[in-house]
Symmetry: C2
DNA sequence: TCTAATTTTTAGTTTTGTCTAAAAAAATAT
DNA sequence: ATATTTTTTTAGACAAAACTAAAAATTAGA
């Protein structure tokens, strides 16, 4: 049985592996707000448990076993987030912290019943795909808003870093997943985007555009 | 913020205080499957935190603060149990172990929303009263089946020790909370009860009768 | 290429929560 | 009333998961 801490490390490894290819000790430490020396200790333990391929001073990568274990925790996290939003009417900006705890509850049956109760959702409240029981996960074909040029269109399908403050801001501006976006203008000076969403013109800073994920038809 | 372990100790103290008046170190140890020396350590910590009145070698009792903290965990436990039975269709014999974990999730808002989602239930699946937010809890007026004499009647409102094997057995015999019971005969030899429930005659061992709680009209 | 800076690992410490074994106190029995 | 048994506490050890400081390896710069 893996500890809470081990499970959080596994998720971190998985997420970091998505973005960068080889995962460094310091990147894990930064992600988890820990010191690199603590990470090294855990990496040794993970090597023992065959969760990672590890050689001193080289980076790490998850083994098949490690990846599957990580995906099962991510599955729980995203199902709980969905429960909190769909059934308990939490805002999408509130659920991550709570799911961070709920994901560690040990019970296969619980998660299968929860999945059922929620009608086997495909995506979590942030647009992220929910892995299925066997570890399969949809690869999404998304672009960042910042990659679009003037007059291009897309549909918002996710947020990259779902920080509460960003989610909150999107709520305030009534922007949600599924909304269509058209780029009206891109300011040369600071990369600000003027976009049209639901027939309203909105202004997004470059930083926001680096965090909005869209599905485009190209 | 109290640890998972501390929370389990507090609940143990609360439950033991219900049955016996002064709680001994060894009874806590037995209840939690720990060694008395470990309990002593925690009692010292609890004295520091003002959760208990503690004097070396004398027993312990919860302070107001300790009791309120215990009740808030019991509230969470019983609400989660209700959720698991009512919404996820778990059996009443399966939910205790899972709620033992869920009760430690930290979020005031979560538990209030859960309470709401469940329509503010008064009792958990085992018939135990759910404390309200402010720590108020209904005192139930119940008798054990073993206290009834021949021809007396009652309604099943709870189980004393809700061991899975007992709950399971009651399921098998189609006995549930709310059922009316009439004592037909008590065998002198071993204290076995012959009772009538839903027009069926059932035979309960003395041990079972020591665990069935009834509401009677006396 | 060789030195300097950065990253990673090692060594040793801390806290929490458990344990065993031994000492001390309290309860029980003769 | 005293001796024996039982309960409780103390003392010391251990594992997990974090830390700091120092050493070692790698990477980058001149
Ligand atoms: Mn977590
Ligand atoms: Mn999410
Ligand atoms: Mn618990
Ligand atoms: Mn219960």
């Amino acid at each position: 049985m893996n500890s809470q801490s081990e499970e959080d490390y596994l998720k971190a490894l998985y997420h970091l592996e998505m973005d960068f290819d080889a995962v460094s000790t310091s990147s894990i430490a930064e992600y988890l707000n820990m010191k690199p020396s603590s990470v090294t200790d855990m990496l040794k333990k993970f090597a023992e448990k065959k969760f990672i391929n590890y050689q001193k001073y080289k980076g790490t990568s998850l083994t098949k076993k490690g990846k599957l274990t990580a995906l099962s925790i991510i599955r729980k996290h995203r199902l709980w987030e969905t429960f909190l939003v769909e059934k308990l009417s939490f805002g999408w900006d509130q659920v991550h912290i709570i799911a961070e705890q709920l994901e560690h509850i040990k019970s296969e049956e619980l998660i299968e019943k929860l999945d059922n109760f929620l009608d086997n959702p495909k995506y979590d409240p942030h647009g992220d795909p929910i892995p299925c029981k066997d570890g399969n996960i949809e690869e999404m074909n998304q672009k960042l808003l910042v990659e679009l040029k003037t007059s291009q269109k897309g549909i918002i399908t996710g947020v990259k870093k779902g920080t509460a403050s960003l989610l909150n801001y999107l709520d305030k501006e009534k922007v949600k997943l599924g909304d269509s976006v058209k780029v009206i203008e891109i300011l040369e000076f600071d990369g600000t985007y003027i976009v049209e969403i639901n027939k309203r013109k909105l202004t997004f800073s470059e930083k926001i555009c680096q965090n909005l994920l869209l599905e485009t038809n190209d």
